[in-house]
Subunit: 178 residues, 2 copies
DNA sequence: AATACCATGTAAAGAGTTACATGATTGG
DNA sequence: CCAATCATGTAACTCTTTACATGGTATT
């Protein structure tokens, strides 16, 4: 049920529609949680039924009615309750490392894939750095709640930097292996 | 279908039973792939039906028959084929970061959870370091295929070291936030 | 006597992915 | 005119988790 809690956290920060949440899960939250619009719409429906969210309809001309969700008192209580429950660390399931494990079968293919991933991580890192320099230029001046959000961005930076460094280290090890 | 490929990689390194694979997925491979025994037994059955694995039965007295799986020529071909196909980087879905995102609702709870995770990461790091010092003391003397496996262990080390450092950094940021 | 380990599975529920589907508006 | 963006959803499928189930052996 963690998608539900991620949605609670997002909607508690600011109410929004399924579509907007999909965007947010691609940008700021996408850093540590990924969800497709199908998942989000389904989950929002469930959560509204459960009483965690309330729905405000905003009809528009020529467009589907906007369904703006916001967190109810029960929803906030559920979020607070969940914050106190210990959770195991995220599980890692990484194709690239499976490939490296069997890398002796085709070192060139693995090397190519490492280079590709290196580029993807470098891109993400650049995106996060731009975000940090832009919206979070002076973190100590931010409202309190946003300082916590800034700390999640720092996690993204640290995560991408680590993979980038590991790709480089591994590529040179492969060079030496020949 | 990536569990299938992780199993191919594991069984290509050395044939084994579902139970043994479950152990291996807890130890060396658990570093980058996690799978429960239920998943593993089911997937092994499917893969055998598909012709990727062959099965050798070793009856035992007083115990269930051991079912030792090994990779067939088709299985190896499937693994080699998969090695060449580009794959997106692993997705991260981390409860802890969702909690931090909503951390303003209960900073103390988040701090406690960070400390708990810090300890878990420190434990894992120690386990990997012991493995590196033990089985992989002289990596350059290892057989070629195991040098690739060693590189996946280095990923685990890097990953845990990064989370540990991030936990520390974030904990001191929380101190300052008060 | 109890716990842990070996060794295998089934069933059901929950979460996530992929494909399909619609229709207006805006920018190049 | 085509592609992208806004905005919503359904259906089918796959993958993962949790719970249930059995039974012998070894250790404390």
């Amino acid at each position: 049920m963690a998608l539900a809690h991620a949605l609670l956290a997002a909607l508690h920060q600011e109410p929004g529609t399924g579509y907007e949440l999909t965007r947010r899960f691609e940008l700021s939250m996408g850093n540590f949680w990924q969800a497709s619009h199908q998942q989000i719409y389904r989950e929002l429906g469930r959560m509204a039924q459960q009483g965690w969210l309330e729905l405000q309809l905003q009809p528009q001309q020529g467009k589907p009615t906007r369904k703006v969700y916001s967190v109810t008192t029960e929803g906030l209580a559920a979020l607070r309750d969940w914050l106190q429950q210990p959770q195991p660390p995220a599980v890692l399931r990484d194709d690239l490392l499976v490939k490296l494990y069997a890398g002796a079968e085709n070192p060139a293919a693995v090397q190519a894939e490492l280079l590709r991933h290196r580029a993807l991580h470098a891109d993400k890192l650049a995106t996060y750095q731009a975000l940090a320099a832009g919206c979070f230029a002076c973190p100590q001046d931010l409202p309190r709640a946003e300082q916590f959000i800034y700390l999640t961005l720092r996690a993204g930076l640290s995560y991408e930097r680590q993979w980038l460094a590991w790709c480089d280290e591994t590529l040179s090890a492969l060079q030496e292996l020949g």
